[in-house]
């Protein structure tokens, strides 16, 4: 199954290697990994999605904590969350067939961010299935997809704060639902909510 972890790490050289190397050592494939600044200076936030056996989540989390540069790890599990991915898609299109791509983009709430004589670029944000939906439709309508660039998933728990922020602020364990106890709020194919 897919596991999603949010890790707060020190913003130092080599930290990404340490985290990535840990998954390599455990023989676990990282499906997606996004890194960027967090709300705190000097602390980066990673969203790591990986495919691993169901029971592996605690062990992965415990192993992440053993890395000296890791400050906090949240196992999102099935807790209510918002997950987004950004994609840039370049499609071959000219003056004759542009307009129906505009329509498609409208349906998917995507934006056209670049237009050239022979191509255009679509920017789309949403859950994985929505992005894949657009790519699929583009392929089916014989529009030639030239390039796809996807950011990987970014995840944040719904509600007040994630555990990481609260613990970092010294507030102790927040009152949050236990991972695994709640059904998925957004099913993999139900992207209407997210469009």
């Amino acid at each position: 199954m897919l596991h999603t972890f949010v890790a707060y790490v020190e913003d130092k050289p080599g930290v990404l290697t340490r985290v990535a190397s840990l998954f390599r050592r455990l023989n676990i494939n990282i499906i997606s990994l996004t890194v960027g600044h967090s709300e705190r200076p000097g602390v980066s936030r990673m969203t790591i999605v990986c495919a691993a056996p169901d029971a592996a989540a605690d062990r992965i989390r415990a192993s992440l904590y053993k890395l000296d540069d890791v400050i906090d790890v949240d196992d999102i599990g099935k807790a209510p969350n918002v997950t987004r991915e950004l994609a840039l898609i370049k499609v071959a299109a000219n003056a004759h067939n542009r307009s129906h791509i505009f329509e498609l983009a409208e349906v998917f709430r995507a934006r056209i961010v670049d237009l050239a004589p022979e191509s255009l670029m679509i920017e789309i944000t949403g859950v994985e299935s929505k992005i894949e939906g657009l790519i699929q439709v583009l392929n089916e309508t014989e529009d030639r997809v030239l390039e796809v660039c996807r950011s990987g998933k970014m995840t944040m728990r719904r509600g007040k704060h994630s555990t990481g922020v609260l613990r970092a602020m010294g507030a102790g364990e927040p009152d949050i639902p236990k991972p695994g106890n709640l059904p998925l709020e957004t099913g993999p194919d139900n992207f209407a909510d997210n469009i």
Binding site: G14, T17, S21, R59, Y65, K66, D72
Partner: protein, 586 residues
Amino acid sequence: MNEIEKNDSAHLTTPTRLTGAEIVLATIVGEGVTEVFGYPGGANLPIYDALRKFPIRHILVRHEQGASHMADGYARASGRVGVAFATSGPGATNLVTGIATAMMDSIPMVCITGQVSSRVLGSDAFQEIDITGITLPITKHNFLVSHTEDIAPAIRHAFQIAKSGRPGPVLVDITKDAQQAAAIFDFDAAKPKPYNPHPMLSVLEGHLHEAADLIRAAKRPVILAGHGIMQSNAGEQIRTLAERMQIPVGMTLLGLGGFPASHPLNLGMMGMHGESWVNDAIQQADLLIACGMRFDDRVIGTPSTYSPNSKKIHIEIDPSEINKNIKADVALVGDLRQVLEQLLPLLPGRDGSAWLNTIAASRGTAAVLDIKNLPDSGHLYAAHVMHDLWRITEGRAIVATDVGQHQMWEAQYYRHDYPHTLITSGGLGTMGFALPAGIGAKVACPDKEVWVIAGDGGFQMTACELATIVQEKLNVNIAIINNGYLGMVRQWQEFFYEKNYESTPLVSPDFVKLADAHGIPGIAVRDRGDLEAAVQTARGHQGPYLINFLVEQEDSVYPMIPAGKALHEMIRRPGSNPLVEKPEDK
């Protein structure tokens, strides 16, 4: 710049301007280090240049692998952090095997390597290697330091990491220009942030009661005693638990010594080469209390067949070990000693006689210790050597073993009653470990008798350290168990590869002459009758002594559970040998 005087420690209390090299040494002195194992080279010469100013004994090794193994042996024997120095490039890569050995066995160690100047970092300069990259998966953490003012904080942090939680090795790589430049050294200001325990440690009140209920209700409990007993100094607590609740104790290889071998509740070593009554007891148990051990595959055989009817209580400091190999029913994640201190008040006592009698019966019907089945036809068996060494040294020596058959025979026949008396590479299984690790142990404990026991194969991997023994005037006794084969591999070829003895017969030098070339006296022993005299000569000799035990060539370690089999599917010593039992075998 102020000139530092040896034994002057003013710079530890007053901020002083020092070179980076001096800061390295001042910091480790501040951390309590008195001995360092190392080898100089271009990229750490500034440190060696400053060495004479500090109250540190430097042991010059013959190969950097020796330095990391010695630091490891030093740490295992003393419980203190071992320190190794090496230069950049090949010096640093030679440390790697020793670092990995320490990582697998959770040994606190700090390795300080020189690195090329920061100006040329990344340019493939002479003797440049990315040692922090190489050691990333085999250290708890590592540092690349390229600014003089970062040296003291990095080293102090390294010591904190090495010692804390589940211990392990840390490497600090320091560029040559950082060693040469000067900065204000302020030991107190370089103190690391307070140690932050692993956030997933949890010893919940409810879990303690659950564990206590399981222990009180158990009919067939077994304690599995591991290395954590030594690491958290919990020998007394384990003993109280076993005695008060009348629970038998099985030992892991690295746990040997954590609970006295002569104690009536001690069943001996479990696992691949454990005795049948230990493994049978585990298979039949209804409760396993795992204390500071990690259910290594050499201990469990296969997870699916391991102790199928038992509940498991896992007391362990590393949360990532919980449910890794064997699923725990109750996990108490914390320092073993602290957990047991919380658990013991909930355990008033218990009558365990029925279960102990069952085990005693199975012990009686099992073909007793294999040593008693050895034909005493003038041939010398390694088991005899271990047994007699134990008897002659009264089990008080520190024994550093290598890896292979002799390691298992040592574990079976040398009965360790005291903690920190067995120094052996359990997790990584590193051949060549014994000699340097024994040297490290002797440096840590100069008043203890130290025996290095190695096979003829493993000994030759690090035999160059004989010269280190001589140069450092160390009174280390060496026993080579010489069977002319890479014995354990030969045994696997015998059992699983139809006796195709490919590349296991081994030509060796005359070890007595080799020792003699180093100025170390020695003797060859072929007969059990000559054994005791040789051992006593070695013990009485002021200085190192080597005994070359020429043992039975094609003997195997019994019993044996083939890799991946269940604990009860063991291979026993063929029964046709005449039983000869000597009074001293009892």
